[in-house]
Amino acid sequence: MATTATPPPPQQTPAQPHGVARSRGLFEREILSRALPEAFLKLDPRVQVRNPVMFVVLVGTVVTLIESITSPGVFDWSITAWLLLTVIFANFAEALAEGRGKAQADTLRRMRADTEARRLRPDGTEERVGAATLAQGDLVVCEAGDLVPSDGEIVEGVASVDESAITGESAPVIRESGGDRSAVTGGTKVLSDRIVVRITAEQGQTFLDRMIGLVEGANRQRTPNEIALTILLAVLTIVFLPVVVVLEPFGRYAGASVSVVVLVSLLVCLIPTTIGALLSAIGIAGMDRMVQRNVLAMSGRAVEAAGDVQTLLLDKTGTITLGNRMASSFTPVQGVDERDLADAAQLASLADETPEGRSVVVLAKERFGIRERALDGGHEFVPFSAITRMSGLDVGSRQIRKGAADSVKRWVAEQGGSLPEDLDPAVERISRAGSTPLVVADGKRILGVIELKDVVKTGIREKFDEMRSMGIRTVMITGDNPLTAAAIAQEAGVDDFLAEATPETKMELIKAEQQGGKLVAMTGDGTNDAPALAQADVGVAMNTGTTAAKEAGNMVDLDSNPTKLIDVVEIGKQLLITRGALTTFSIANDIAKYFAIIPALFVATYPQLGALNIMGLHSPQSAVLSAVIFNALVIVALIPLALRGVRFRAAGSASILRRNVFIYGVGGIIVPFLGIKLIDLFLVAVHWY
């Protein structure tokens, strides 16, 4: 799949007005109007000093400003103005990137209206208090129509909850006490029933608060690769400083007087202003792209780590398979008609409301036209229990059962029935194929086997092929036995599987991979996943999961869609690629700038150097100004690319590299030659020169 700048496909973008993920255009008027003043406010040197490249530009601007004031001239003033614009454009890029997050944070804040909470006194009576006064451990009551006042755990009751405020998903979810579905989030709305919630979050530390902080980027910290790149940019800035400064004595030695304004212009053109200006915007936008996919990354570091992941641990159910096994065939034993088996199987499943049960009914109908029937009186449903591991019904004297092979065999044997010879081979064949066999018996007579098949999601195999081409190993995690797991792994095309997985074996697998130097990503939702989520380099917790899981992971997927782990990896990669590509572009640009400025610098002393003016620029002054203008405008031109990210295509490293080197390296050499020439022509056309 190509992760492009276009909005994600509809199924991933809930079209709800309130979700965090509300898609916003890059240049929406609201964000633009907010970013413009910000761009000027950020001229504060205390802000600029954090970015060494742009700080040098700012200092250079001050130098040319002083020159312009002491010896005024149109050229000096033009250069000063464009240098200042260069800094402003950089600020604008950053403000624009931040703007979207800020707008989203505002939406969230508006939602976090001051709710009232119904706190339970120890004696069981209720009192009404402001949500802001709730403390950890307080018990509150929520009934249909109430907003949940803060994050907590349901200790009593079950309710359907509208979580669209957080996730953007309008379909209500069921929350109940006990188990892995007991967490509720402040700001969500109870739609039915009554629950008692024990508050687990301190004030200001709720999920909503954290979410606001994250989308706003309030305490954004530089990520490891960003730091490394900043150092490289600082090195390139430091090295160009003497390169330019010594031109003054060099020029003097040659008998040329070199203008300070031109030297500053040369310096600004040579230092990597393009990437320097866009670097923080790229990082912010990367986090933002996660938010757009409804994934909250707790830190930029996690986003970056996602790009480095080499092993993906994927839960079988819900990620690789659709999650529900579906009946796919009936295998009668010798002497039994397939239709009779189907009929009995359907009867046994009539009361079974599980998806598996429904699928048996549907299969029988599809195959043999056996309709669901209204049974006459005198029947009794036998529900599934963990002890019998069977279900079915008693109608008249008939006792029809379906269930795990062992259980049904034992049940039949207990009644004195015999086992057909071809039963075990059929069961084994189905197991080996990765399906689940359900044996059907009518009294002491075994009829045959239903095959419940795990349905592998369409397109998942191609996904895994892409992952492989990117050098990422996929490991399927399943509680199934190794035989079943191997068959599904084969069908889905994963590289490896962990069968009969327990939280402990999962943890061991992660540690083993990490021991080998690999970065591991996984998803999880249960409390028993928490240690593994914490151990993994990228742990994506499902929003439906427990509080413990959400706290252990470094990302939360609001859609609770485990397949998204793959998107997360792609966004991480795209972030790094964008940085690398713009760095390459920025450095490659320097060549053309040299050819514009160097001849202009010394042409008065050495007219022969005019031969280096291969672009045929109008005059030394127009050449220098054109280079400076190009340098400033290219920042603006690249803002959309920085915010959207470089187009990413799942492929091997070699082809990605070839493509990016060609576009941003070779392109970066050619584009400024054209750009500077065009600007020069324009300046001449408007009679500036």
Binding site: P224, V243, V246, G516, Q574, L576, L612
Partner: protein
Amino acid sequence: MGFFWTIVVLVVVLGFAWRFLGSYMAAVFDGRVHFLGWLERPVYWALGTGPDHEQTWKRYAVSMIVYSGVAIGVAYLIMRIQGHLPLDPQHLGGVPQALSFNTAVSFVTNTNWQNYGGETTMSYFSQIGALTVQQFASCAVGVAVAIALVRGFARRNSPTIGNFWVDVTRFTIYVLVPVSFVAGIILVSQGAVQTLAGPATIHDALNGVTQTIARGPAAFMGSIMQFGTNGGGFFNVDLAHPLENPTGLTNLLYIVLTLSIPVALTYTFGKMVGSIRQGTALLAAMTIIFGVWVGFTSYAEHQPNPAVAAAGVANTHVGNTEGKEVRFGDTSSALFNVSMTQTSDGAVDSAGDSYNPMGGFGLLTGMMLGEVTPGGTGSGLYTILVYAIVAVFIGGLMIGRTPEYLGKKIQAKEVKLAGLAALVMPLTVLVLTGIAVSVHAGQAGPLNKGPHRFTEILYAFTSQGNNNGSAFAGLNSNTDFYNIVGAIDMLLGRFGIMIPVLALGGSLAAKQVVPPSAGTFRTDNGMFVGLTIGVILIIGGLTFFPAASLGPIVEQLSHGKFF
């Protein structure tokens, strides 16, 4: 021998050196070569160390600094008091302070910048005890530092990067001494002079003049000066002297010797990190740049002098022969001088000052690229690895992963150290050149006018800052100013890079290794070779283009108007 056959012989011989000297050096540094153990052990005993005493990068660096500091002191002292020492048949007396300092630094930093005429300044004792000894030692130090960095890649989760004393000792006794001894014998067999008897006096009865022919232990000095990419010869005119470079064979042998270690070290690197292809990629990058530079410079020297051409004199079809040994001619001279400027050797067999502007540009820019093609002994490998790390970082980001080189993640610390190492040389060269053209003492140096005088100064500092030591000539550099500033240039250009390189080795050695996968940035294919070349050319080009445009470029564009 035609140029074509010269190249064929060169490639074949260097191919052997690459394969066999390369794997032999890996064995030496891995401690798998023992046949001179009886010689090794007393050295370790005296130094109180041994192969089991692994050092952290800091201890390694301290050992290297202490050793080099002592070496500078001893060499300085010998030159100062050579008049009181034996083997001074010409009674040359002590060498002046500033010159002794410059020369001591020059030989300890493997630069071999010579502000003196060997046969008229240095006694045989100084030539052997102060200079030749350092030609062995400085070469071994450079290789040791390179190996320490290679160990950083090869080891995992290791706090140490080897033992400096052991590395230097092993390299000297197992590699330098045997090879340079054999090479010395060959040189003597070709007629290179090796004697401790003083100069010969010859009476030319025909013309009625008496000539003094300088002699000395030149052959063996020649062999180590080339094998160790030192380049400081016995005679003032270096390898243009028929008694040190008597035949076409010796000329070729000198080139082979110079290129051997730097070329073979790429094999050693591949061997030690477990993939020869990795070393081959670096060698390919080196070879491509080297080949282009030889071609460019030879072409430039085949052109007539632009001043002559501009004056309307017909092209003589012999190119620019000024300042060249007629024995060697244009192409061979260009090959020789390019070999020497791109190996940090710095020996010359023709006068760079008399090269055409673009020919001189070829020599000058060869050094400006940081001496990596293939560079000096050890320094070539570690410097190209620094550039390769920069290439890996930028390229690695472009494939969407935290960049890694040979499984080692290149993070903030590595970028900082590699950046520092890459920055020192251009910064030093440019700033010192800036100072030299600004002060009277510096301006007084050049003997020419116009841009050529600027080129002369720039060349001097570029040569010293890169520890090359080749002299463009045309610069009166035996002054206090040039001696002292030049020494600073050489010290920074050597240790300013070595220390961050050792830190880099330490930092890499401590890292875990990321196993390779299809998503790994390949560092053993053509793309990476291209990227590395790109980084070398872009860093060198961007930092030196303005300076070069004021020197050789404007000279060329002026059609020799200035000289």
